[in-house]
């Protein structure tokens, strides 16, 4: 049933084939040569950093509201409920106006950065911050508690535009 492979271009002579291959190679090399003189498409990452968009799904944070000096969380548990990975854990004590947050943990290693928690939050208490350097050597460090989430809320993105970072002593490491 199977089709036997035909000899490719069996009619053409070896010389002709070689000549065509050489021409094809030259045409291709011309393109690559042209690309050599175009501006670079890459950045040297640890030394240069690329700006990310302000919708970037980076780390999650609970920014501090300057008016109340506290976060805006109203403890409605909506983010905990909508999270597909169940990585948000909230606990609270007290009743009515005295209700305070005692625990707001996000397991960032489980988080899939879908943004559903940010979307359902009625008070915009939980937000994405444009930060992309969260790697660590220990998985346990990726459990973010209330303090971490308050601290992780910077006023502005970590990088704006392609910026040169000062070369550290001892090369790129």
């Amino acid at each position: 049933m199977s089709v036997q492979p035909a000899e490719t271009d069996g009619k053409k002579g070896l010389v002709e084939q070689a000549w065509q291959a050489a021409v094809g190679l030259v045409v291709g090399l011309k393109s690559t040569l042209r690309t050599m003189f175009e501006p670079k498409a890459t950045v040297i990452y640890p030394l240069e950093k690329i700006n990310v968009s302000n919708r970037w799904h980076g780390l999650l944070a609970l920014p501090i509201d300057p008016e109340t000096d506290n976060d805006k969380c109203i403890i409605c548990f909506q983010c905990e409920r909508v999270c597909p990975d169940r990585c948000i854990h909230i606990e609270a004590t007290g009743k009515g106006k005295d209700r305070v947050l005692t625990r707001f943990d996000i397991e960032m290693d489980k988080c899939c950065y879908c943004g559903l928690c940010v979307e359902v939050c009625p008070t915009e208490a939980i937000v994405f911050v444009p930060h992309y350097e969260a790697s660590t050597y220990n998985r346990a460090n990726l459990l973010y508690d209330l303090d971490d989430l308050h601290r992780a809320a910077p006023k502005e993105p970590i990088a704006t535009g392609v910026v040169k970072v000062r070369r550290q002593v001892g090369g790129t490491r």
């Binding site: 199977s2 968009s53 919708r55 597909p84 899939c112 879908c114 979307e119 359902v120």
Partner: protein
């Protein structure tokens, strides 16, 4: 007296650098000729269909994103929200439909670029990969600006899209279209016109039309064998019935035909994007749908054309906020099955060319 020969069984993968993902190919060789090639799959199986039964309809958008084909997150989201919208009878605003179409076509280009780059690497051309990544990076930037994610977007919602396009985004897309069309002739110089590339792909791995249909192949693989079928034309969704585009069809059925079909599809995608940008309506981007949406009882099959072929979801709703059963019809699964027929009779050196030409993603095969 004939020379006594023995068949040799060659294991390729699951960690072979040229297999696309964790695929194991058990190739039976007679000398250099392939007698049989059996793919061994399941290394990436995560039972997405089971996981989806435990999540709500909204949460599942985040799951299909990464649980299925990870290179075409938008297409996965599209087929899921389409199935839910049909079953729950939810209307989508016109602007959202146009935005979705633009996103889907951008995703198609980016997925085809990855295929083009890896196909080049498979056949020994390293530059192709770097160039493909350079162009894809621009698409990723566009995705990042509008959705916040580069690979996994979670952008489509049941009844619309998550956020409106940021300011100036459409101009950037138009700019990308011009840029990309200018780049495509360079691709032809580098790979398409290369006689070595043609010698390795023309006439290799032929899949006849009748076999392609019988084995369930779809998408560019079937279209290269002469099947003029595209879900976007046959069962239009979003705004595909209002834009004009051609379905590239080849009849040769070999690796080069599959290559040509995908290259032409990228040009057609640019054409679709330009038309959508021109007629992008203003207005709502999302109809009101509650977070814990309860979908009526019933069953529906929604199909879309993903970059790999006919991607469908058979959704069974039971009136609760979680699906009762989801069957994902993965295009790469059937295309990979057709590989067994494509390989027979070719030399062992052609394995990688044939495998690269069908453009599989193992996460789509295994789910």
């Amino acid at each position: 007296m004939a020379l006594r020969t023995e068949e040799l069984i060659l294991n390729m993968g699951p960690q072979h650098p040229s297999t696309h993902g964790v695929l194991r190919l058990i190739v039976t060789l007679d000398g250099e000729n392939i007698v049989d090639a059996q793919p061994d799959i399941g290394y990436l199986h995560s039972s997405v269909e089971k996981m989806m039964e435990a999540r709500t309809y909204l949460q599942n958008i985040a799951l299909v994103d990464r649980g299925m084909d990870y290179l075409t997150a938008m297409s996965n989201e599209e087929v899921w929200v389409l199935a839910v919208e049909r079953l729950a009878k939810i209307e989508v605003p016109e602007r959202a439909k146009s935005i979705r179409t633009i996103m889907l076509e951008l995703q198609r280009i980016s997925s085809h670029l990855i295929w083009w780059g890896t196909f080049g690497i498979d056949l020994g051309a390293f530059t192709a990969f770097l160039w493909a990544m350079r162009e894809r990076e621009r698409i990723m930037d566009l995705f990042e600006a509008s959705t916040g994610g580069r690979l996994h977007h979670v952008y489509f919602r049941i009844g619309g899209v998550n956020e409106d396009l940021p300011e100036g985004w459409t101009d950037r897309v138009a700019e990308f279209c011009d840029y990309f069309l200018a780049r495509l002739p360079e691709y032809d110089d580098l790979i398409t016109g290369n006689p070595i590339f043609q010698a390795r792909t023309k006439g290799v791995g032929v899949l006849p039309l009748s076999t392609a249909i019988a084995m369930g192949a779809s998408g560019p693989v079937a279209r290269a064998s002469g099947l003029s079928y595209d879900v976007r034309k046959a069962h239009p969704y979003e705004v595909y019935d209002r834009v004009s585009f051609d379905i590239p069809v080849r009849t040769a059925g070999d690796c080069f035909a599959r290559y040509e079909v995908r290259m032409e599809e990228m040009r057609q995608s640019v054409r679709i994007i330009r038309q959508c940008l021109e007629h992008l309506p203003a207005g709502e981007i999302r109809s009101k749908v509650q977070v814990a949406l309860k979908v009526p009882k019933g069953e529906v099959y929604a199909r879309t054309e993903s970059p790999r072929g006919d991607l469908g979801i058979y959704l069974v709703g039971d009136g609760s906020d979680k699906p009762y059963r989801v069957k994902i019809r993965a295009p790469a699964f059937s295309n990979l099955y057709a590989l067994t027929e494509m390989m027979k009779g070719w030399k062992v050196a052609d394995v990688i060319a044939i495998l690269g030409s069908i453009d599989i993603v193992l996460s789509d095969v295994d789910r």
